[in-house]
């Protein structure tokens, strides 16, 4: 098949404005769609960030005393004993926060005492006995806290000189502080200038609020500090399929122990995750919808203009057909013409896509648009153009030569 580009160029030159508009439209669509698809990917990736917790089996119970508890530590221990005794509960513990929860405690942590500024910002998990089993987190190295290492936050508050026997840190934080070596036994400075030993490294432990474009890596630290239930949440790990029953039983047991409390609805961490990323999901859908409508509008524009051209050039088509051109050649003429215009538009669109991406990088701290998006976007738009022009082109090819010449 020979490509007769000459006549196409000649015709297009006579319709510079219309051709230019198609090029412009395809280019703009290409630029917007490439960036929108990239943004969707970015959101979806953030939504998948692992927390390290056994999210499907978790139950997060948040409650507040109506009157001030005289001894919140004792009440917390009583509640935990009750919860651990419930059927279907594997383990229960009290934590100051859970991933995607309502409260978020983050702080600086340094490698050395004389750091002018904290070397990293990490999520601080204050965890009481049983936290490892109830969270489902996995140790990569080192050990869990020993029972005697836990201290109550209320008691710690009364002693300015008290120290913490050690911390566990997330793998990413360990790699950040001690690249290429083991973090075990090394000292870190979680706030203030007192060193604390790293007792263990957790395989994956996410931030409380991940997915912020500004947030650093998954840096997290766990301290053996027991908070009262009024300042934290109960985290339960239910046996598979038992979650609903566990929530009901836990609520009843806690109310029976002390009626004067206000409950927040109990949720699993997976549900908290859903809630945390609602806005991102909504945005991803919006972007997808805009892409779809943009494609439809672009296709309709191409169809409209191609239809017009076919009608306008019916005399030329008839002449060519009468001179022996086959239907296939007429069809290919229009498809080739569209291919040319689309390619031009896409080339323009790529440049615009990069410009838009640059603006996004500056304003939204987004990463650079991966090159892989461009050929995919290009192919999609080329295919769209070919599909859109197919109808008008077939109509052109079907024109009977004699009738056209006569008309």
């Amino acid at each position: 098949m020979s490509l007769h580009l000459g006549p196409i160029f000649k015709t297009l030159r006579r319709h510079k404005i219309a051709a230019g508009l198609i090029v412009l439209e395809v280019g703009l669509s290409c630029a917007i769609i490439c960036n929108a698809v990239f943004l969707i990917g970015h959101r979806l990736a953030a939504m998948q960030l692992p927390s390290g917790f056994a999210e499907q089996e978790s139950v997060v119970l948040q409650l507040a005393p109506i009157r001030k508890e005289a001894n919140v530590d004792a009440a917390t221990q009583r509640d935990l004993a009750l919860l651990r005794g419930l059927p279907g509960v594997q383990q229960a513990s009290v934590l100051n926060q859970v991933p995607f929860g309502d409260s978020s405690n983050n702080g600086g942590i340094s490698r050395s005492a004389d750091a002018a500024r904290p070397d990293a910002n990490a999520s601080w998990y204050l965890a009481g006995e049983g936290w490892l089993a109830s969270s489902g987190l996995r140790l990569l190295a080192g050990r869990d806290f020993h029972p005697e290492e836990y201290q109550s936050l209320a008691l710690l508050r009364g002693q300015p000189d008290a120290s913490i026997p050690g911390v566990l840190i997330s793998r990413t934080l360990a790699e950040h502080f001690f690249p290429g070596e083991s973090a075990l036994g090394k000292e870190v400075y979680p706030g203030g200038n007192k060193p604390v030993k790293v007792l263990g490294v957790i395989e994956t432990l996410g931030r409380v609020r991940p997915g912020d474009v500004q947030s650093q890596g998954d840096y997290a630290v766990v301290l053996p500090v027991r908070v009262g239930y009024d300042a934290g949440v109960y985290l339960l790990r239910a046996q598979a399929g038992q979650r609903e029953a566990v929530i009901k039983a836990a609520r009843a047991a806690l109310l029976q122990a002390d009626r004067r409390r206000v409950f927040e609805p109990a949720l699993g961490i997976d549900e908290l995750r859903q809630r945390h990323f609602q806005q991102d999901r909504y945005m991803a859908w919006t972007l997808a919808l805009v892409c779809l409508v943009l494609l439809v509008v672009t296709a309709l524009g191409i169809i409209g203009l191609a239809n017009f051209w076919v009608r306008q050039r019916s005399r030329m088509i008839g002449t060519r057909r009468a001179l022996g051109a086959t239907r296939g050649q007429i069809l290919r003429y229009f498809q080739l013409e569209n291919l040319l215009l689309s390619a031009l538009g896409i080339a323009l669109g790529m440049v615009a896509a990069y410009a838009i991406n640059l603006a996004l990088m500056l304003n939204y701290q987004l990463p650079r648009l991966p090159l892989a998006y461009l050929p995919v976007g290009a192919l999609a738009l080329l295919a769209l153009g070919q599909l859109a022009v197919l109808g008008p082109a077939r109509r052109a090819a079907a024109l009977p030569p004699v009738q056209v010449l006569r008309g």
């Binding site: 219309a18 508009l21 703009l28 507040a64 009157r67 001030k68 943009l294 409209g304 203009l305 306008q312």
Partner: protein
Amino acid sequence: MFAYYLDLALRSCRANPVLTGLMVLALGLGIGASMTTLTVYHVLSADPLPGRSDRLHLVQLDAGQLQGWRAGEEPDEQLTRLDAQNLLAEARAPRQALMSGGTAIVQDQAEQAEARSVSARYASADFFAMMGAPLRFGSGWSAADDAAHARVVVISHELNERLFGGADSSGRSLRVQDTEMRIIGVLAPWRLTPHFYDLNMGSYARVEELFVPFATAMEIGLNRAGSMNCWGNERVNDPLAAGANCAWMQYWVELPDAQARQDYRAYLVAYAERQRQAGRFERPPNERLRSVRAWLVHKQVVPGDVRLQLWLALGFLLVCLTNTVGLLLAKCLRGTPQIGVRRALGASRKAIFAQHLVEALVIGGAGGLLGLLLAWIGLLGVRMNPASYAELARLDGPMLAACIAVSLLASVAAGLLPAWRAAQVAPALQLKSQ
């Protein structure tokens, strides 16, 4: 003449229903999407206190430690309790208020209603006057109540509905955690957009349900909520203590004019200098005094997603406009023979131009109407969005006017080029080719 052009335009539209439909649809989609996002943007970047916002200013002081200090750095957004109390005691502005967010569990006195946790604001007396809080019953508290740590509260319209069925509850009692408090005021329905005086609670958070004098709230140990920043090498055991190196309070002053602002700024520098001499502040004075508007701009209060959607929609409108220009052009050119005849019969270029512009306006008007409908549907969609600001997204008078203006402007923009091309058609040549 216009009626004739209108007739011609309608006739031309009827002659090409598919092409016309495509143009109207594309324009409608573009206008609908951009008006939806523009409305959301307009609502979210609203002035929370029209006519008064330029008088309220947020005070920032730099009480941080010298270690790790970088010159010119933005000071903390909030004040320490001690600084806030000092400034309040010295009262150098016509009005000033210190405040913090919190949560408290409330119940009616008879403990009939279910105890529930509500959002609270702990503030000093000027708060209500400064923020223009509308009171339905009773009043706010006085500076004397602040000083006496009075057990008084002001409650929101919603809380009054829930606990007292909307009756005038001023003078009645309320149980706040462990303490019996007297209700002295009930607010009328009130929503500040944005929730500018404490953005930590969420930029578009609802106004709090319970208002308590700050000193009282601290004395009876109500829970604090919001952001807090502590510094120093000493472990802070009680961050809420007055002397703690923790910033967690918002401090607003009302300054009527530029002179007052200048004076207050000088006063803040002098205050910081005094604190430094006393050994409390380590850094050189680094104060900020931002008006409500400047504060909202500084905090980029309009969510990034909303700005992104606005740009996306404007890009989309551009594509739709390009599309419409292309199709209008095609339609015009198809009508070339008729234009030639009209020109040969004596129509001026101006007349041809006007005729085609009217046609573009007709299509633009239809597109605008469709756009309006789509924007209305779009805003319904936005209100189903999980974000806190969703319910605010409504079309108001100015936006409706803007919508009509945008669609007319868009259609004129789309119609100019094709109309100009049509006016270029030479009469003789066309007649010859017939």
